[in-house]
C-alpha cells in the first residue's frame, strides 16, 4: 500500500500558497455534507459493509489463536478444520464487504467531485470578465483540480475509513478486555505510545510535506522558466550564474526538504517497529508467565501477539486522516469561496428577449466606475447616438475608458447611471444572451481554442456548415494561408496558436465574427506590427467586416480612424469631442494634438 501511494503521488495541480490547514468549519462541513445527501444510501450501506471488514480484522487473531490452542495443541484436526473454515469465511465476508464499501463510497465520492467541478465550471462561466483579472487561471485550476481532489480522497476513503478504524480499535480493545485484563493493560500501553508517536509524526509529516511540496514547486517553476527563457539566458551569458543559483539554492533546498521528510518517515516507521518489538517482548514475558501459572492459554497469548500488529494500522490511518480533514476544511473553504463569487450582471427574472435588431445604438447619460475606486476605466456621463450601419472609432489614451464603454455595450457590466438603448430597447432589461447573440466581437489579441482551424471559426456560429466556414474565411482572405497549413482547415491549432502569426490569427477572428454575422460589431484593433503583405489583406478584410453593420472600433490604425463615420475622443472617461476626421482636425482640439503626437 505504501509503495503504491508513493508511486501515485503525481498531483501537481496544487499551487504553493494553498497549503495552510484550516480548523474545523461548520459551514464548510454542512455544505460538503449537502453534496453527499443524494448518496446517503451508499454511505449507510458502505458503513454496514465496513462492519464486515472490521469483524474480519478483529476476529482473525482470536480464531487463529483458538485453532492453535484447541486444535493444533490438542491434536484435534476437526477443530482445526472448523477454525480454518470459520476464519476463511469471515475473511471472505470481510473481503466482499470491503469491496462493496470501496465501490459504493467511490461512486459517492467521484459523483460528488464531478458535480463540484461542473458547478465550479458553470459558475466561472457566468462570472463577469473583471473577475478573471483578479483570479488568475492558475488559481482557478488549483480550485477545480487540486482542491476538489482533496475532497475526493476524503469522501472515497476518509468517511467510512475513519468509521472503520475507530470501530476496529474499539473492537480489538473490547475483545482484549474480554479475554484477559492484565495483558490488555500491556496492550493499551502500546496503544497509547503508538498514538503519541503517530500524533507527533502527523505534525512533522504535515510540516515536511508542505516544505517538500513548496520546494518541489519552486524547482519545477525554475526548470520551466529556465528552459523557456534559455535564449535570453544565453544572450546575456547568464548560464553559470543561473546554474549556481539552481544548485546552491533552489535544488539544494529541495534536496534538504526531501531529506528531512525522509528522516521523519524513517523515524516514524522505525519507532513503530521498535515499539512493536518491545511490546511483543513484554507480552511474551508477562503472557508466558501467566501461561505457566495456568492462568492463560496459548490462545490468549497468541491473540495478543497478533493484535499488536493490527493495532498499528488504524492508529496511523487516523493520524493521517486528521491531516486530511484539515486539508479538506481549507480546500472546501476555498472552493465555496469561488462558488460564492457574486455574478455581477444578472438578467431580470422575467427579462424578455431582445428582438431581432437593426443596430441603432444610443448612450443616454451613461456613467460607470469599477468597484475598486480606481480612476481607470471610469465613464462619465456619455451620450451618443449611433445610427444603423455607422462605424464609430473610439480614440484616447490607455485608461481613457474606451474598453469600458464597449464592455457596457456588451453588458459585461451594468451602467451606474444612464442607459444604453438598442433600437429603443434598454439593454439592461433584456436577457444577456439575446443581446450578445446579436453582437460580434473581435478582440485585440485573438484567442484560439484547442481544436481545428475549422472549429475555431465555427465558434462564431455553431451550426454553420463546413462550406459556410470556408466562405467566411475566404471572404476575409484567410482561405489562402489556411490552405497552406499542413491539413488545411483540419489543422489542429496548438496551444495559443503557436503555428500561426499574429496577423493570421487576427484574420481567423475576423472570419469567426463574420460567420456570426452580427448586427453590431465590436472591434478592438490589434496593436502588434504585421508585415506589409498581411496588413494589406487585413485592411481589405476589415472593410468587408464593417460593411453594413453598426461598429464600434477601438482604433489604432490610422486608416480605420480616418474612415470612421464618427470619431469619439475619450479622456478620463469623458467624451472630449466627437465628429469626423476632417471636422476634428479643423476643430483644433485634443484629437488634433494626439494626431500630431502620434505621427
Amino acid at each position: 500500500m505504501v509503495v503504491a501511494q508513493k508511486i501515485n503521488r503525481k498531483d501537481k495541480n496544487v499551487d504553493i500558497d494553498d497549503i495552510e490547514a484550516a480548523s474545523f468549519d461548520w459551514d464548510v462541513t454542512k455544505r460538503l455534507l449537502g453534496y453527499l445527501v443524494p448518496y446517503k444510501r451508499n454511505i449507510y450501506i458502505a458503513m454496514v459493509m465496513a462492519l464486515f471488514s472490521v469483524l474480519s480484522t478483529v476476529a482473525g487473531p482470536p480464531i487463529i489463536g483458538w485453532a492453535v490452542d484447541e486444535g493444533v495443541q490438542n491434536r484435534d484436526l476437526l477443530l482445526v478444520a472448523v477454525g480454518v473454515i470459520v476464519y476463511l469465511v469471515i475473511q471472505g465476508f470481510g473481503a466482499v464487504g470491503f469491496h462493496i464499501q470501496v465501490k459504493l463510497m467511490s461512486v459517492a465520492g467521484q459523483r460528488t467531485i464531478q458535480k463540484l467541478r461542473d458547478d465550479l465550471f458553470t459558475h466561472i462561466n457566468y462570472l463577469s470578465i473583471g473577475f478573471f483579472s483578479k483570479y488568475e487561471t492558475g488559481r482557478l485550476i488549483a480550485r477545480t483540480i487540486g482542491d476538489v481532489n482533496v475532497l475526493r480522497e476524503a469522501i472515497n476513503w476518509g468517511i467510512v475509513g475513519t468509521f472503520r478504524d475507530v470501530l476496529t480499535l474499539i473492537g480489538i480493545i473490547v475483545t482484549m478486555l474480554v479475554i484477559n485484563l492484565p495483558l490488555t493493560f500491556v496492550s493499551l500501553g502500546v496503544v497509547l505510545v503508538l498514538a503519541l508517536i503517530a500524533n507527533i509524526w502527523r505534525i512533522y509529516a504535515r510540516k515536511t510535506y508542505l516544505r517538500v511540496r513548496e520546494s518541489n514547486a519552486k524547482v519545477n517553476m525554475e526548470l520551466a522558466e529556465a528552459f523557456n527563457g534559455v535564449r535570453v539566458t544565453q544572450a546575456f551569458d547568464r548560464q553559470k550564474h543561473n546554474y549556481k543559483r539552481f544548485t546552491d539554492d533552489i535544488d539544494m533546498k529541495n534536496r534538504e526538504s526531501n531529506v528531512s521528510a525522509t528522516m521523519v518517515a524513517a523515524s516514524f516507521f522505525s519507532s513503530i517497529e521498535l515499539v512493536g518489538g518491545v511490546a511483543t517482548g513484554v507480552l511474551i514475558y508477562v503472557g508466558g508467565m501467566l501461561v505457566l501459572g495456568q492462568e492463560l492459554s496459548i490462545f490468549t497469548l497468541l491473540t495478543f501477539v497478533l493484535y499488536i500488529d493490527q493495532l498499528f494500522f488504524p492508529i496511523r490511518m487516523l493520524a493521517q486522516r486528521y491531516n486530511l480533514f484539515q486539508s479538506v476544511m481549507a480546500a472546501g473553504a476555498k472552493i465555496f469561496n469561488l462558488l460564492d463569487a457574486p455574478i455581477e450582471v444578472k438578467d431580470d427574472p422575467n427579462a424578455p428577449q431582445l428582438p431581432k435588431i437593426n443596430g441603432h445604438v444610443q448612450f443616454e447619460g451613461v456613467s460607470f466606475a469599477y468597484d475598486d475606486d480606481s480612476d481607470d476605466g471610469i465613464i462619465q456621463n456619455i451620450s451618443l447616438d449611433v445610427p444603423v450601419g455607422s462605424t464609430v472609432a473610439l480614440v484616447g489614451q490607455t485608461g481613457a475608458g474606451k474598453s469600458t464603454l464597449i464592455k457596457l455595450l456588451m453588458r459585461s457590466y451594468d451602467t451606474k447611471q444612464g442607459r444604453i438603448l438598442i433600437d429603443g430597447h434598454d439593454i439592461s432589461h433584456v436577457t444577456k444572451k439575446s443581446l450578445r447573440q446579436q453582437m460580434g466581437v473581435v478582440l485585440q489579441e485573438t484567442h484560439l481554442f484547442s481544436g481545428t482551424v475549422m472549429d475555431n471559426i465555427r465558434y462564431g456560429r455553431l451550426d454553420a456548415s463546413d462550406q459556410e466556414v470556408i466562405d467566411a474565411a475566404t471572404a476575409v482572405g484567410a482561405d489562402e494561408f489556411v490552405m497552406r497549413l499542413p491539413e488545411g482547415y483540419h489543422t489542429e491549432v496548438r496551444e495559443g496558436g503557436a503555428l500561426l502569426s499574429a496577423g493570421q490569427k487576427q484574420l481567423l477572428s475576423f472570419a469567426r465574427a463574420l460567420l456570426a454575422d452580427p448586427r453590431i460589431l465590436i472591434l478592438d484593433e490589434a496593436t502588434s506590427n504585421i508585415d506589409t503583405q498581411t496588413e494589406k489583406i487585413i485592411q481589405t478584410a476589415l472593410g468587408r467586416l464593417l460593411e453594413g453593420r453598426t461598429s464600434f472600433v477601438i482604433a489604432h490604425r490610422l486608416s480605420t480612424i480616418i474612415n470612421a463615420d464618427l470619431i469619439v475622443v475619450l479622456d478620463h472617461g469623458q467624451m472630449m469631442e466627437a465628429g469626423t476626421h476632417a471636422e476634428l482636425l479643423a476643430k483644433g482640439g485634443m484629437y488634433r494634438s494626439m494626431y500630431i503626437m502620434a505621427h
Partner: protein, 644 residues
C-alpha cells in the same frame, strides 16, 4: 542503448554515495535477519518455554537460539521466559535502529542522486544551442527534467531498496521455512506465487489507467485554462452553455475512467488479502495435520512461526508488481534523460578559443550561407556586408525573409553553414562565447521577462549591478516612469504571482536589461512590434539616443523607424536584394521604395494635412528632451563605474 546499459549507467550515480548505499544495504541485511529470527523465538517460547517439549527435528534454525534452549534446561521455564522476552525486546530495538538506517540512508541517497541528475540536465539544457531548442519542444524537456528525474529518484528510493528488501525477505523466509519443514513451506508459499503474478498484472493495469486519469484531469485543466483566458470570447459569442457542455462531457468521461481504476483497486485489495488468509489457513490445517502425525518436525511453535512468516512476506509480494514497474519505468526514464545529456553541443568553445578583451564593434559577414539543421532550404544566401563601430544597420524584409536568422549569427546563436561572421576581425567561432556575448546586447522580438522583481530582471545580465546603474538603465529605456508608479517600485514582481506588464512595458524593461551591460553591439529584433504607436514613438526616441556610439542592428517592420540608418539591408528569401542608405534605396525604386510608399502613404497624407493646417511637426517634443537628459545621465554613470 539496451535497458541493461541504461540501468548500469543509472547505477553509476550511486558511486559518490557508496558509503550510504553500503550502510543501507548492511542495515537491510541485518534487519531482515532480525525479522526472520523473531518468529523462531516465538516458536521456541511456545515449544520449549510453554509446552516444554524439545523440538523433534533439530535443524539449523535452532542454532540462533541454541543457547536459549540450554538455558531452559538449566534454569527452568520462568527464567527462560524472561530471557526470551528480553531477547525479543532487544531484537525489536535493534530492528528499529537498523530499519531506520536502511530507510533513511536508502532514501537519502536517492534524493542526492536526483539532485545530481537534475543539475546535470539543467546545465546541459541551459547551454544547448538554439538549434537544439528549436528542434525540441520545451515542454517535453521540462517534463523530462521533472518527472523522469522523479521516476529515477523513486527507483533508487523504492524500486531498488524495496526490491532488494522484498527479494531478501522472500529468500530468507523461504529458506528458513524450507529448512524447518519443506512440505509445510511449499503449502504456505504456494498461494503466494499466483499472488505475485496477480500483483504484476494489477500493476500493469493500474499504471496506464492511472496515467489516463491524470491525462483526463490535465485536459479538464486545459479546458479551464482556455475558458478563463478566453473568457471574453466565450461571453461575446454567448458560448457559455457550449463550454459547460464540453467540460461536462469530459468530466463524465473522467468519472468513468476513474471508476474503472478504483474498481480494480476495490477488487485487488480484498482479493489479495483473501489469498493471504487462504495461505494462513493452509499452514494452520496442514500444520496441525503434520504435527499430529509427527511428520517432518512440525510443532505447535512451528505452525505459529509459519503463520507469522506468511504474513511477513505476503505484504511485499502483494505490491511486488509496483516495484517491478518502478524498475522498468526508471529504465525508460533513464533512457530519456540520457538522451538529453548525450545530445551533442553544437555551439561550444574551441579548445584554443581566444578571449576578446575589448570589442570595437566591427561586424563583418563574408559569403554567409545558412541552412538550418534538418532542412534543405537555405535561409541565408551569400550575405556580405560590414558594419563599422557606431553604425546603425537596419534589416528589413517580409516575414520569413531571414532577418532574425541574420542577426542571430552575430552572438553565435547559430553557426553559419558556409562563410564566416567576424567581430573585430575574429571569426566568432574562434573566440570564447562569453567574451562576445558579454558585449552584445540583444532585445528579442518577444521580450521574455523572468518571474522575479523588475530590479532582478533589469540586472539579469549583470547581477551585481548597483542601484544607480539599474535606475539609470531604466531611465534611458524610458521605463523608470512606469516602474516608479508601482507601489513596490523596482521590487515589484513580474510574471507569475506578480503584476502583469503590458507589451510596451515589458519591451522597455527588456531594453533596460540590454543597456545595463553597456554593450558594444546592440541587436534590436523588432523590439517595437507589440506596442501601440505612442509607446513605439517613445521607445524609438529612447533607442535613437542609446544607439549612438554602438554598432546597432535593428530589425523593423515600420520603415519609418529605419530611415536614419547608416546602412539598410533589404532581405528577400534570404538574399540581400538591396543595400544602402534610405535615399539611395528610394532612388533604386525597387522593393524598398515600393514598400516604403505603401507604408507611408498614410503618413504622407497626415503630413500634407498638417502642412495644410500650418502645423510644424519637426520640433522635438519635450519628452524627447527629458529622455536625452536621462540617457546622458546614464552615460555619465556608466563612465563613472568604469564603462563596464
Amino acid at each position: 542503448m539496451s535497458g541493461f546499459v541504461i540501468w548500469k549507467r543509472m547505477m553509476a550515480y550511486l558511486k559518490p554515495y557508496g558509503k550510504w548505499a553500503f550502510l543501507a544495504f548492511m542495515a537491510l541485511v541485518f534487519s531482515n535477519v532480525l525479522v526472520i529470527i523473531i518468529p523462531t523465538i516465538l516458536r521456541d517460547v511456545i515449544d520449549i518455554g510453554i509446552i516444554g517439549e524439545m523440538p523433534l527435528a533439530v535443524a539449523s534454525p535452532q542454532a540462533f537460539v541454541a543457547p536459549l534452549n540450554d538455558l531452559a534446561m538449566t534454569y527452568g521455564k520462568p527464567d527462560y521466559m524472561l530471557i526470551a522476552g528480553f531477547l525479543i525486546v532487544g531484537l525489536g530495538v535493534l530492528r528499529g535502529i537498523t530499519g531506520f538506517a536502511f530507510r533513511y540512508f536508502g532514501e537519502k541517497l536517492s534524493h542526492f542522486i536526483a539532485y545530481d541528475i537534475r543539475n546535470e540536465v539543467y546545465n546541459k539544457v541551459q547551454n544547448q544551442s538554439f538549434t537544439y531548442h528549436d528542434e525540441s519542444q520545451t515542454g517535453t524537456i521540462i517534463t523530462r527534467a521533472i518527472s523522469d528525474v522523479d521516476e529515477i529518484q523513486r527507483y533508487f528510493a523504492f524500486g531498488l531498496m524495496d526490491g532488494l528488501n522484498t527479494a531478501m525477505l522472500v529468500i530468507g523466509v523461504a529458506m528458513i521455512m524450507f529448512v524447518t519443514s519443506p512440505v509445510l513451506a511449499v503449502l504456505g508459499l504456494l498461494p503466494l506465487i499466483p499472488l505475485a503474478f496477480f500483483s504484476r498484472g494489477f500493476a500493469l493495469f493500474v499504471d496506464p489507467a492511472w496515467r489516463s486519469v491524470m491525462e483526463r484531469l490535465q485536459k479538464l485543466g486545459n479546458y479551464l485554462q482556455e475558458n478563463s483566458t478566453g473568457a471574453e470570447v466565450v461571453r461575446a459569442f454567448t458560448r457559455e452553455e457550449f463550454e459547460i457542455n464540453k467540460f461536462g462531457k469530459e468530466n463524465e468521461t473522467l468519472y468513468h475512467d476513474h471508476m474503472r481504476l478504483i474498481n480494480r483497486w476495490a477488487t485487488y485489495l480484498p482479493t489479495s488479502a483473501f489469498i493471504i488468509a487462504f495461505s494462513t489457513g493452509l499452514v494452520l490445517f496442514f500444520g496441525a495435520l503434520m504435527e499430529r502425525s509427527g511428520f517432518g518436525g512440525v510443532t505447535v511453535g512451528v505452525v505459529v512461526a509459519f503463520n507469522a512468516y506468511v504474513f511477513l512476506i505476503a505484504q511485499p509480494i502483494r505490491f511486488l508488481g509496483f516495484v517491478i514497474l518502478l524498475i522498468t519505468q526508471a529504465i525508460s526514464s533513464g533512457r530519456r534523460v540520457f538522451e538529453i545529456l548525450d545530445a551533442p553541443e553544437l555551439i561550444a568553445d574551441k579548445p584554443n578559443a581566444v578571449v576578446l578583451e575589448d570589442i570595437q564593434g566591427i561586424v563583418q559577414f563574408k559569403d554567409v550561407n545558412l541552412t538550418y539543421a534538418n532542412t534543405t532550404q537555405p535561409v541565408l544566401k551569400n550575405i556580405n556586408f560590414t558594419a563599422h563601430p557606431g553604425e546603425v544597420v537596419a534589416i528589413v524584409g517580409a516575414t520569413g525573409s531571414g532577418k532574425s536568422s541574420l542577426v542571430n549569427l552575430i552572438p553565435r546563436f547559430y553557426d553559419v553553414t558556409e562563410g564566416g561572421v567576424t567581430i573585430d576581425g575574429y571569426d566568432v567561432r574562434d573566440v570564447k562565447l562569453t567574451s562576445i556575448r558579454d558585449r552584445i546586447g540583444v532585445v528579442l522580438q518577444s521580450s521574455l521577462l523572468f518571474s522575479a522583481t523588475i530590479r532582478e530582471n533589469i540586472a539579469y545580465g549583470k547581477p551585481n549591478a548597483s542601484e544607480e546603474e539599474i535606475i539609470a538603465a531604466a531611465k534611458a529605456a524610458n521605463a523608470h516612469g512606469f516602474i516608479s508608479e508601482f507601489p513596490d517600485g523596482y521590487n515589484t514582481r513580474v510574471g507569475e504571482r506578480g503584476v502583469t506588464l503590458s507589451g510596451g512595458q515589458k519591451q522597455r524593461v527588456a531594453i533596460a536589461r540590454s543597456l545595463l551591460i553597456n554593450p558594444r553591439i546592440l541587436i534590436l529584433d523588432d523590439s517595437t512590434s507589440s506596442v501601440d504607436t505612442k509607446t513605439e514613438y517613445s521607445i524609438q526616441q529612447a533607442l535613437s539616443i542609446i544607439m549612438r556610439g554602438r554598432t546597432t542592428f535593428i530589425i523593423a517592420q515600420r520603415l519609418n523607424s529605419v530611415k536614419d540608418a547608416d546602412q539598410i539591408l533589404v532581405l528577400k528569401d534570404g538574399e540581400i536584394i538591396e543595400q544602402g542608405r534610405h535615399e539611395q534605396l528610394l532612388a533604386l525604386n525597387g522593393y524598398y521604395a515600393e514598400t516604403y510608399r505603401l507604408q507611408l502613404a498614410d503618413q504622407e497624407k497626415v503630413r500634407n494635412e498638417l502642412l495644410a493646417l500650418g502645423e510644424i511637426i519637426d520640433e522635438p517634443t519635450p519628452q524627447t528632451a527629458d529622455m536625452r537628459l536621462a540617457t546622458d545621465e546614464f552615460r555619465a554613470i556608466l563612465d563613472e563605474v568604469g564603462g563596464d
